[in-house]
Amino acid sequence: MREWIREVGRVLGRAEVATGHFRLDVLAPGTAARVRPGQFAMVRVGPGPDTVGGGPFLARPLSFFDIDPSRGVISFLVRVVGEGTRALASCRPGDGLLLTGPFGNGFPPVSEGALLLVAGGVGVAPFPPVARTAASAGVPVRAVVGARTAGLLLGVRELQEAGAEVITCTEDGSQGVRGVVTDALPALLRESVPSGGAPPAGPPGGAAAVPPGEGTRVTVFACGPPAMLAAVDRLLAREGAAQVTGHGSAEEVWPFYVSLEARMGCGFGVCRGCAVPARGGGYLHVCQDGPVFPAGAVDLEGVARIGV
């Protein structure tokens, strides 16, 4: 089976899950059969590869919010930010979407220790499949989901259904922890440092998940605005230095991966458009080297300056 496919997906359903945010369910069996959690598809409005006019020219890179290979259905979470995402969010059931992919590396599989997901806004998109895969492998999964206000919290139900314990943060305090995701993280990290601390509670009613205890290795995955990723990176470094002296670098304590966005031309490596600054100089390409990077490989402050 070829790793990449071009197929016309059919929109099965569209739902506005929060103001300006849409979930699209798309029948695309070829794509659904190939996806690994954390990969992305290039999605173009219109069924024809030669469609010109009426829609955006370039396809948009979108993470897989849900993957159901048995039904051949994939889902995307789209935040309307411009013309392309508006066109996608305007699709109706029955409409065709030109899909190419799945592209990129995806998140590394986590089969031991515990997994901590950190999501800002629509950055939650790649995490439900990640959580499901880890939880079904017996890895306890917690997810910190942040938004400006309660009405904009995304993916909470999907993450819970995938077997994750969800901690919500809102900047206005309307739900969960008041503040941003980095305000909720220190307590969670201290609970799970290898030198000890109280093991955190497992997911409510979660049977499979085992609470991480002493010595548990916690892997951190983050996706969201670049400024948030940079803040999480700084926090992990600071907490690592403060809490785990003698355990080496923060990265060894908490393996930390980020999933990045970039403006993309093709999605599969030929245009070289999706460059992001590498730590130590030069560039990495989100479509080929990512979208998931070890946080140490990327100049996250530089990515935050560029914006998306």
Partner: protein
């Protein structure tokens, strides 16, 4: 002008049978001589509307009843007249995961420089109406790596390889050409005097006929490879640059490269691209490209690679009618990785539907039609 003599009449060459089935293994295809053409398995008449389905390759464009798609580009024999344009196909590695590269007529590589280049600061891509802006900045691994790693990979497909070369000084172009001359598998060079995205080179040559000629002359002096010169549309009179390139020894002209443009990010109140400006491509520039192909075809006796916004076989036929000997597919590959082979099939169907039996008879045909009123004495002032 001191051209190299290359007695390579295209008709004397053997021609590859186009194998159009997806499962074709690399290297499995025979390269039969002329008589064997069209007898390969799966090759049959082209059908209107073929090539729409993903995955299932349609009947071969070189079937017995299909038009003869072969083309001669300055002595480079092509199985069909659809090249892939520089910068939209990398060095073929990623594209080989999409389709059998032998389905295209030839491959023009990513712009290659003497030293490796990391490329321009991001963002490098911006959407525009019916197209895109890019400011990649000639990111490439450098010619040594290209010769050592990329050409050997590409040449296994047996498709003509044309290496796009770019430099900041005349001597760099000459050094690049000297290094690539004689490299097995390299069929020609495309001299890029038209990249809008590097500060001290590329387009600075291409906007000046004398500077363009200096580059072409320097390259011509060190190689007998067929030389394509890729021209920029960012000039008042492209014919003047085309003539200068021809006088300096160009064997063919590729036109057009991207149009210089920019986009502004309103929210951040600054240019969207990291390099401020970039090159516009896609269907948005097709009318400009067609007009320039037309003008150069009428004035300069060189084969033309027509390029700019080709999305369909019908677009490609427009370029042939305007005077392009062959076409190159660029931005279409970004949004449809199977665009180039799809366009080969669509072009064959379009030509067949219009009653043509070969590509050659189409080239420049629209010029003749445009002259017909003159022949009837109805000359306009």
């Amino acid at each position: 002008m001191g051209r190299c003599s290359r007695p390579v009449p295209w008709i004397s060459r053997g021609w590859p049978a186009l194998a159009c089935e997806e499962g074709l293994e690399h290297g499995a295809g025979a390269w039969p001589c002329e008589e064997g053409r069209g007898q390969g398995a799966g090759a049959s008449a082209c059908e209107e509307g073929a090539g729409q389905g993903a995955g299932a390759w349609p009947a071969g464009p070189l079937g017995p009843a299909g038009p003869d798609l072969r083309a001669d580009l300055a002595g480079i024999p092509l199985a069909n007249p659809v090249l892939v344009a520089s910068g939209t196909f990398g060095y073929g590695r990623e594209m080989a995961r999409w389709f059998d590269l032998r389905l295209v007529g030839g491959i023009v590589t990513k712009g290659t420089t003497l030293a490796p280049r990391a490329g321009n600061p991001p963002p490098r891509i911006a959407e525009t109406p019916a197209g895109l802006l890019n400011s990649i900045g000639l990111e490439n691994p450098g010619v040594e790596t290209v010769i050592r790693e990329e050409i050997p990979f590409l040449r296994q497909f047996g498709v003509p390889i044309i290496v796009n070369i770019a430099g900041e000084r005349v001597e760099e172009y000459a050094a690049l050409a000297a290094k690539l001359d004689g490299v097995e598998g390299v069929s020609g060079l495309e001299v890029n005097v038209s990249c809008p995205n590097v500060r001290a080179g590329g387009m600075l040559f291409g906007t000046d006929p004398a500077a363009s000629a200096a580059v072409v002359r320097a390259v011509r002096a060190v190689t007998c490879l067929p030389l394509l010169v890729k021209l920029t549309p960012n000039v008042t009179d492209i014919v003047a640059v085309a003539r200068a390139a021809r006088e300096a020894g160009a064997d063919a002209l590729t036109l057009i490269n991207t149009l210089k443009g920019m986009a502004i990010d309103v929210r951040r109140r600054r240019p969207l691209l990291g390099a401020i400006s970039g090159g516009l491509s896609g269907p948005a520039i097709k009318p400009v490209a067609l007009r320039m192909v037309w003008e150069v075809a009428a004035a300069v006796d060189l084969p033309i690679v027509g390029c700019g916004g080709i999305m369909t076989g019908r677009d490609a036929v427009e370029f042939l009618l305007a005077g392009a000997t062959v076409v190159a597919v660029g931005s279409a590959t970004l949004v449809d990785p199977l665009a180039a082979p799809r366009i080969v099939t669509e072009m064959a169907a379009c030509l067949a539907g219009e009653g043509f039996r070969s590509v050659r008879e189409v080239v420049g045909l629209a010029h003749r039609a445009a002259l017909e009123p003159l022949a009837e004495g109805s000359e306009q002032s």
